[in-house]
Symmetry: C2
Subunit: 199 residues, 2 copies
Amino acid sequence: MTPHPRRRRRGDDRREQIIDEALKAFADNGYRSTSIAEIADRCGLSQPGLLHYFPNKAALLEAVLDYRDRLDYDRLGFDQELHGKDALLRLAQLVDHNMHVPGLVRLFTVLTSEAVTADHPAHDWALNRYRDLQEFLAGALRAGIADGSIRREIDPAAVARQVFAMMDGLQLQWLVDPDNVDMAALFRAYIDELIAYIA
Amino acid sequence: MTPHPRRRRRGDDRREQIIDEALKAFADNGYRSTSIAEIADRCGLSQPGLLHYFPNKAALLEAVLDYRDRLDYDRLGFDQELHGKDALLRLAQLVDHNMHVPGLVRLFTVLTSEAVTADHPAHDWALNRYRDLQEFLAGALRAGIADGSIRREIDPAAVARQVFAMMDGLQLQWLVDPDNVDMAALFRAYIDELIAYIA
DNA sequence: GTCTATATAGCGATAGAC
DNA sequence: GTCTATCGCTATATAGAC
């Protein structure tokens, strides 16, 4: 209450609110089908009122994606230099958690698929996101090979791609039919078998 | 040339042409972002001219999905009662082939992700498609268990879901970054390991 | 910082002429 | 079978008042 003008500026709150509502809206209907007027409305703003904070729709999308990446990377422990199996188990934990935030999962899934066309404003984001995730896991697997906990014959880059493919594919099936797909259990079963295979 | 009016009606050609162009357009930009005027234009038709063949946009989408399903199910040999490993190898062949038809793959990927919201006109299609595919493969795996070529401990329904998850996830990565993702090789490696594991 | 008003463009669908 | 014309609606973005 009584927001002190020196430290807690109103503008920053508005920005956060807009990003939050935009995230939900993009997750529900994708980027192209969501109007900024609808997002503005959910914030109790007029459409030009929203455009006071973001110059255009693409800039708003970018802010949403930055926010989402920060959440995910924090949860993954991106910087923590995890070794092979630890990184895989961390991913299984992430999928467990994702079942409680369907909105975020839907945002990622809808946007990534929408962004497969090269001219989409989120195409570079999708490309870099896969590269980052793949390098994170491939690095962890290489570390596991180095310390002898993972067999030398396995291909870290290929396994990394397969793991994220399984994760995304299960997310898609879960989103389409949430009551009949236990995403976390299916992913954990895959990870357990994979760990047994690569050890 | 010189189309005989009795057998080869012009209207059927037009319908096929419209479906073909609609498929490409939906694959490029999704359903919601594609206008029927744009599809009509690619066919050398006006927008009301197109609506002479399909009463509305959703009906056109349905025709496109029917067409796509027919292509896929034919290629899978849906009716042929394949046993365990044969069905898995057939899927690997399908992924090989898919690398030559990126448009069809994109159609499926973009539409399925768009259709995760329950009100989307393709939502039921996506749901039934996964159910059909999952039952096809789960049935084949059960047949493999029955004839002793697959271990009794494996869960046919779970493995079937995982296999299609891997397929879809690799498709997504391939579409985002075609030059750096060898979808067919990654899927075949997964299938080979899976066959070794379940045998 | 937020508004009203508006410019400009696109959408799906229908009516009716040829 | 295909067109022009048009309705009613929605979109992004800008101009300018308060």
